[in-house]
């Protein structure tokens, strides 16, 4: 897991997606071939760090590796460039969760494997 995490560190730390050189479509996660025009000429580009909640849930049954973190608030967010992204929503009272709420990206710990094990960091979102 450590190597596959390291490989994607810029994706996780800076929301580095990509953009089609042909038609300008942007993607996160990055794509290999532009879905809109089929171009294979894509360049890395950082996504905007703000957007709004399209839908969300409060997950009360977490998967292995996330024990102790429940409930986990997850949302699909439309970033200001139109790209949709899945992320955790933190530091927000549950009763303040709304479709349409403005959010910004924050850099957080995702999980840790054990006291002496790997710690994974990445993006989460918080309401503005």
């Amino acid at each position: 897991m450590a190597i596959s995490y390291w490989r994607r560190r810029d994706r996780y730390y800076r929301l580095l997606g990509n953009k089609c050189s042909g038609c300008g479509s942007e993607y996160y996660p990055p794509v290999y071939i532009c879905r809109r025009c089929g171009s294979e000429s894509l360049m890395d580009v950082e996504m905007p760090k703000t957007g709004q909640i399209i839908t969300y849930t409060v997950l009360r049954e977490v998967m292995a590796g996330f024990e102790g973190q429940q409930p986990l608030v997850l949302g699909i967010i439309r970033l200001d460039n139109g790209v949709k992204i899945l992320g955790q929503i933190v530091d927000t009272p549950l009763e303040a969760l709304r479709i349409g709420s403005r959010v910004k990206m924050v850099f957080r710990k995702i999980r840790e494997e054990s006291e002496a094990g790997q710690i994974y960091y990445g993006y989460k979102f918080t309401t503005l």
Binding site: R11, T57, V58, L59, E61, V62, M63, L86, G87, I110
Partner: protein, 381 residues
């Protein structure tokens, strides 16, 4: 092109099989399917399974099962397409017979889920989504479907009671299905009072975790029977991989395309379908599935279910032995349980669950959130 016949089926009860291994289950279902045709030796064994490596530390299931069945020498392999593994394996067996590569095929779906605890099952299932961008942040299938359910209710003004209709139908039909995991009727109040697991989804919106195996013996038209069940078509389609990458999250476009092609190849229209098995892993999944296939208009799947359209005596009888919710959802086997149940219906062996006079049955089996979809059409001759 020769015809392809579902000659026989075999399956285990779905649920807790503490005393049986993944191979025990696969052999049990296989023997039941092979029993009526002791003269037939399959030309190929195809195993449908999603996560035997996770649950049983066992891969190479094709050769493992072929060897256990004393079928050494024939081709045998595993097909994996998440929860659509069963439907895809069926499709491959069907194509092998149609192409003349095989005369008979034994297709066996199996999943051992209960040896894992619930967080481990959630992790194993999440491997059907993006490991790097969905699983990494802790999003499970339950949470993705919950976000979809919220969007569905919000977009189409679907009430809690309407969303509960498919689970209620599933449980009602499962009460009289011997192989079902949950043979207990529930009502909309039970669903509304069940624990919130990922809002708006409650426990009774979700298919359970269970072990099971289902086997299908497919043959060319050598087997001569009057009421034989023929495969009219089987089509696979795929969608943009992750739910959140799709512009329109509420249209199951893989199901839409697979259904349209399958119905067209079978030469049938919606009104010809007498019995329907859909992939009701979650209440919202059932609703979006019937909408994508065209049985309900967009936004009206759950409302139609609440109005009785999909009940056993309704216009489109669905989930006739309980579906994924009531019969259970041993993921890699599910698509083949659906085929086995259509076979029971078309043979008139449905018992208390029989849909009278049915001739054409349709199964829809999906992997991921409609990421892979298989639609199969069977008919009684």
């Amino acid at each position: 092109m020769g015809r392809v016949i579902v000659a026989s089926v075999g399956y285990t009860k779905v649920g807790d099989h503490w005393d049986k291994s993944i191979l025990d289950l696969a052999v049990e279902a296989s023997k039941k399917a092979l029993k009526p045709y002791s003269n037939i030796k399959p030309d190929v064994v195809i195993v449908a399974n999603m996560f035997s490596g996770q649950s049983s530390k066992q891969e190479h299931l094709g050769a493992l099962l072929a060897s256990a069945l004393n079928l050494v020498g024939i081709p045998a392999f595993k097909i994996e397409a998440a929860c659509a593994s069963g439907g895809v394996a069926f499709n491959v067996g069907y194509r092998m017979i149609r192409s003349g590569e095989a005369d008979t095929a034994l297709i066996v779906g199996v999943e051992k889920m209960r040896d894992l605890d619930v967080p481990e099952v959630s992790l194993a299932l999440s491997m059907a989504e993006s490991a790097e961008y969905t699983q990494f942040i802790g999003a499970t299938f339950l949470s993705l479907n919950a976000m979809l359910a919220r969007l569905y209710q919000e977009t189409y003004n679907v009430t809690r009671e309407e969303l509960s209709a498919f689970p209620v139908i599933a449980h009602q039909n499962a009460t009289t299905a011997e192989h079902a995991q949950f043979r207990k009727a529930i009502n909309v109040d039970d669903v509304a009072r069940s624990p919130l697991v990922s809002d708006p989804l409650r426990l009774l919106d979700c298919a359970p975790i269970g072990d099971g195996a289902a086997a299908i013996l497919l043959t060319s038209d050598r087997v001569d029977e009057e009421d034989e069940v023929e495969v009219l078509s089987s089509k696979i389609s795929t969608n943009i991989f992750s739910l959140y990458e799709r512009e329109d999250m509420l249209t199951f476009s893989a199901t839409k395309e697979a259904a349209s092609k399958a119905f067209s190849e079978a030469g049938i229209s919606l009104s010809d379908v007498d019995v329907l098995e859909i992939h009701d892993a979650f209440s919202v999944t059932a609703a979006l599935s019937v909408e994508a296939m065209g049985f309900s208009k967009p936004g009206e799947g759950a409302k139609d279910a609440a109005a009785g359209v999909y009940s056993l005596k309704g216009r489109h009888p669905a989930l006739t032995f309980g579906g994924l919710k009531g019969r259970g959802h041993p993921v890699g086997a599910t698509g083949l349980y659906q085929i086995a149940e259509l076979w029971l219906q078309l043979k008139g062996r449905g018992g208390l669950n029989q849909v009278d006079g049915c001739r054409i049955g349709v199964a829809q089996n999906i992997g991921g959130v409609d990421t892979t979809s298989v639609v199969t059409v069977l008919a009684r001759r």
